[in-house]
């Protein structure tokens, strides 16, 4: 199995558990509070990450990209919550935002010169549609699927 597949499956497992915990936590606290406390979870890992990483090989450009990625990630979550607070139905807004990999693919093809094969395009299309379908609210569920 290709290395990227192994790591991708690991990400899917972690985020899948995250999704379950999100369902559980929103039974008790508001979305705004979840956004605050879940970032505390990120901070929990920080000492370990800092202890195992050397930052002296990073240039200003690297730091800027990592930081901007954090801002983009946070804004994605924030705008989804803002959408829900402004009248969006979760069954519509969440699947709509789940289409975000389409933009990532588009940017990667346009700016990074990636060229998926025809069969891979089919797999990409199926994955994006599957993600949107699975993000639809189940009959009895009232939660927000946050990506991260």
């Amino acid at each position: 199995m290709a290395e990227w597949v192994t790591f991708s499956i690991a990400a899917v497992v972690c985020w899948g558990i995250m999704g379950l915990l999100q369902k559980l936590t929103t039974n008790y606290i508001s979305a705004d509070s979840v956004l605050i406390w879940d970032r505390v979870g990120y901070l929990v890992l920080l000492p370990w990450l800092l202890g195992t990483s050397h930052l002296n090989n990073m240039g200003p450009g690297d730091i800027l990209i990592g930081t901007l990625d954090g801002i983009a990630n946070g804004l994605g979550a924030w705008f989804l919550y803002a959408s829900l607070e402004n009248g969006a139905k979760a069954s519509v807004a969440v699947p709509l935002t789940a289409l975000y990999p389409l933009l990532t693919v588009l940017l990667a093809v346009l700016f990074l010169g990636e060229k998926p094969r025809p069969l891979q395009w089919l797999g990409i299309a199926l994955a994006v549609v599957a993600g949107a379908l699975m993000s639809r609210e189940a009959p009895a569920a009232k939660h927000v699927d946050e990506k991260l």
Binding site: G41, K89, Q120, A130, L133
Partner: protein, 155 residues
């Protein structure tokens, strides 16, 4: 496709933004930022390690946390169980990001992005097993398509 609602949960009327419902504008902005997140994740992962990316991603999200604290007027929920679940959620989100950046380093963004976005498959399965939630037809179809896409992309 979109159900137009111009009222929030409190029933207040929300003005449109250039003819579009405000919620739709926000949802599209969410999609935009997450799309950019995936793209920047690839650029960053090609340059530095997954751990280094995660460190600065964590720092980058802190202003948003501050914004939320101010929005809540410093009245943050302290329900013990809710907070515990939320912190655990953050730990798993961060671990997932580490794996995501590692995948981006060895794979292409056009494959890693769509495959990792299939994580609701596991959430749906866990919700079915742990929470005994009902699974809708759309989710079952999504699960089937997710499996098909993973098989195709693994070829």
């Amino acid at each position: 496709m979109f159900e137009m609602s111009n009222r929030n949960k409190r029933g207040d009327l929300i003005p449109n933004v250039k003819g579009l419902p405000k919620w739709l504008v926000y949802a599209l902005l969410s999609l935009l930022w997450w799309g950019i997140f995936g793209f920047l994740g690839k650029i960053g992962s090609d340059r530095v390690s997954a751990a280094q990316m995660q460190i600065f991603l964590t720092i980058g999200a802190l202003p948003l946390v501050l914004g939320c604290i101010i929005r809540l007027d410093f009245k943050i929920a302290t329900h013990k169980l809710g907070v515990t679940y939320a912190i655990l959620m953050g730990v798993f989100a961060a671990l997932g990001l580490l794996a995501f950046f590692a995948a981006m380093k060895s794979g292409t963004a056009s494959l890693v992005g769509p495959v990792t976005s299939l994580y609701p498959a596991l959430t749906v399965a866990l919700a079915l097993i742990v929470l005994k939630e009902k699974v809708g037809k759309a989710q079952i179809l999504g699960l089937i398509l997710a499996i098909a896409s993973i098989v195709i992309l693994s070829l």
